[in-house]
Symmetry: C2
């Protein structure tokens, strides 16, 4: 049977080509033409049946669906994207840090995005030089993007929003035209620090973490500093710089503790804190008796370590979920003013700050 619906000549040799080129790549997937052929209808009708945009006679629809089934037809995503001008996909880009924090955010994001029918692309910039290009590249594959931390410069973001690409920024200062979500930082830093100063009466502090690369950290540091000042407790001039992982915490704490002996180490995240505990113990210091240590995030290990790590719980999954939902609203046409959401956090008192000594939790 000859193809009924082919543009004259246009499809000549299509199958031959398909076979040849099919060794790999997009492979020998059936195309809408083959389905149309088999069902004895035009490709337009096939498309209509598949998308349900226009009523199609019952019998026709049946034939089309049968053909789709027999050929195991799955529409080509790139063709569809090209025609629709949409990708039905969202991206998320995060920096080098690969710990539990980012994993949870991504998971929360993926879960919601999937529910909303969007695929999700991930990109970790690893502080690479090519970050800019990588993000731009990613941007050309998605309808919306969430960007964590200082992965790329403001110009890139401005560029993207100018292009009309909806953006949600996370753990990063706002930029014109983009929504942001963040966990509450200042208030929880204040609560934490006040707990240490007033409830425990500590008078000597250090702060581990790099406030220059992380907005979150600089906010926490600022509030921490303010509370000390208000309480007239001497404090460090600046945070002790420190890579945001366990090893970074261990090294920074080791170096610090060999020079000074603060009573408390306030750390910018749990991994640093856990590394610091290791360093302290290696130096023969008992936590919390000789040195109190606190973290941020409340990752799994914080709960299981002994002493249990006092920390500030962040709604990591919820951060991701919020971003996914917001992006969806934007893509659904919401053109309102950018929103700047701040999600609540919670102080979790465990033993590492000196609480619950009896049970060591």
């Amino acid at each position: 049977m000859k193809a009924l619906t082919d543009t004259p000549g246009a499809r000549a040799g299509r199958d031959a080509v398909a076979q040849g080129a099919a060794a790999r790549g997009l492979g020998r997937d059936a195309t809408i033409y083959q389905v149309a052929d088999r069902a004895g209808v035009s490709i337009a009708t096939v498309s209509r049946v598949l998308r349900g945009t226009t009523p199609v006679a019952v019998e026709t629809r049946r034939r089309v669906l049968a053909a789709v089934d027999e050929l195991r037809f799955t529409p080509s995503r790139s063709a569809r994207s090209l025609a629709e001008g949409q990708h039905a996909a969202n991206g998320i880009v995060f920096p080098d840090l690969s710990g539990p924090y980012f994993a949870e955010v991504v998971l929360g994001y993926e879960e919601v995005a999937a529910e909303l029918g969007r695929s999700v692309l991930i990109l970790s910039t690893h502080g690479r030089q090519a970050a800019r290009q990588m993000v731009l590249d990613l941007a050309s594959r998605v309808d919306g993007l969430v960007i964590l931390g200082r992965t790329v410069g403001d110009e890139v973001l401005a560029d993207l929003t100018a292009r009309g690409l909806p953006l949600v920024l996370m753990a990063r200062d706002p930029v014109a035209g983009a929504d942001t979500v963040n966990a509450e930082n200042s208030e929880s830093a204040r609560v934490l620090t006040e707990h240490l100063v007033h409830d425990h009466g500590y008078r000597s502090f250090a702060f581990l973490g790099d406030a220059t690369t992380s907005t979150d950290t600089s906010q926490r540091w600022a509030a921490f500093r303010t509370v000390l000042r208000e309480a007239k407790v001497p404090g460090p001039r600046a945070p002790t710089p420190c890579a945001f992982d366990e090893e970074g915490g261990r090294i920074a704490a080791d170096r610090l503790l060999r020079r000074k002996r603060p009573r408390v180490l306030v750390c910018a995240n749990d991994e640093i804190a856990l590394g610091a505990v290791l360093a302290a113990e290696a130096l023969g210091l008992r936590v919390p008796d000789d040195l109190a240590v606190t973290g941020w995030d409340d990752v799994m290990a914080a709960r299981h370590s002994r002493p249990g790590l006092t920390t500030v719980r962040q709604p990591m999954r919820e951060l991701g979920a919020w971003a996914a939902r917001r992006l969806h609203e934007r893509l659904a046409g919401d053109a309102s003013e950018p929103r700047h959401e701040v999600l609540p956090t919670q102080l979790v008192q465990r033993a590492s700050c000196g609480c619950h000594q009896e049970e060591n939790r």
Copy 2:
């Protein structure tokens, strides 16, 4: 100036349309036509400059690059994919489990894939009914796929390989035509169990984990069972079924320990084990004095918990990395027989099995 290279009429009103339709979606990104226009060349030349496929005169190239720059042109990914028949993207699909194990695998995968110039799409099936459709959908966006565990049925996999889609299976039984990577299970399970039986002399065991849904677990269970049998130590008939997370471990262990009092709990992963420790302590049992507990994976929390968790370290990132590399080879044309890689694991003895009692690590 009139467009030099436009198909007569075909591009009429392009800009008007672009402006109109641009409010969102693919936006008013510049197209290759605009670049060509601005540089005074044909789109073919622009393409050639950008891809470097064919030599272009120096001066021409300069003009094109200038135009690209001025218009901030980024080629449309879907158009390119459609024309090339390639996506330059890979996918990874994993089941519901969202813990550190999967996070690490994904990270290792992303890192290598990014280096190889491929974007990565992630999909978590969450045991959803629609998993099949979601995976098929994902498959239409990528050139290759890695699939973890029993996320979808064998028919789907057969379907995909038949289509010529390179597949790497992880933590899953092989399927014709697909590569697989797994962590070594039997040998390490044997070493672990022998350690417990011979070095510690334990004679009463339970095994927590669901061997019916996880290939890894069923292999571990089998080797565990074999060692007990060889040593003539009575053991359970079957694993105690248990969800693969902390809460699952806590609940299953609680229920089990209220009925029986095995001396050892061998758990299918660290999260279950950590949950089990919680349950044991809640019942007033001391670990490891009253009850030894072991895990699998060596996640961060295993290292920090007290007692330190005895476990089997898996090279999670390396699993992901291997999959990414293998996929790349396949896409580069390697059509050799499927490979079935097994990556080494390592027993990590900490305190929860009864070792290192003095320091409680």
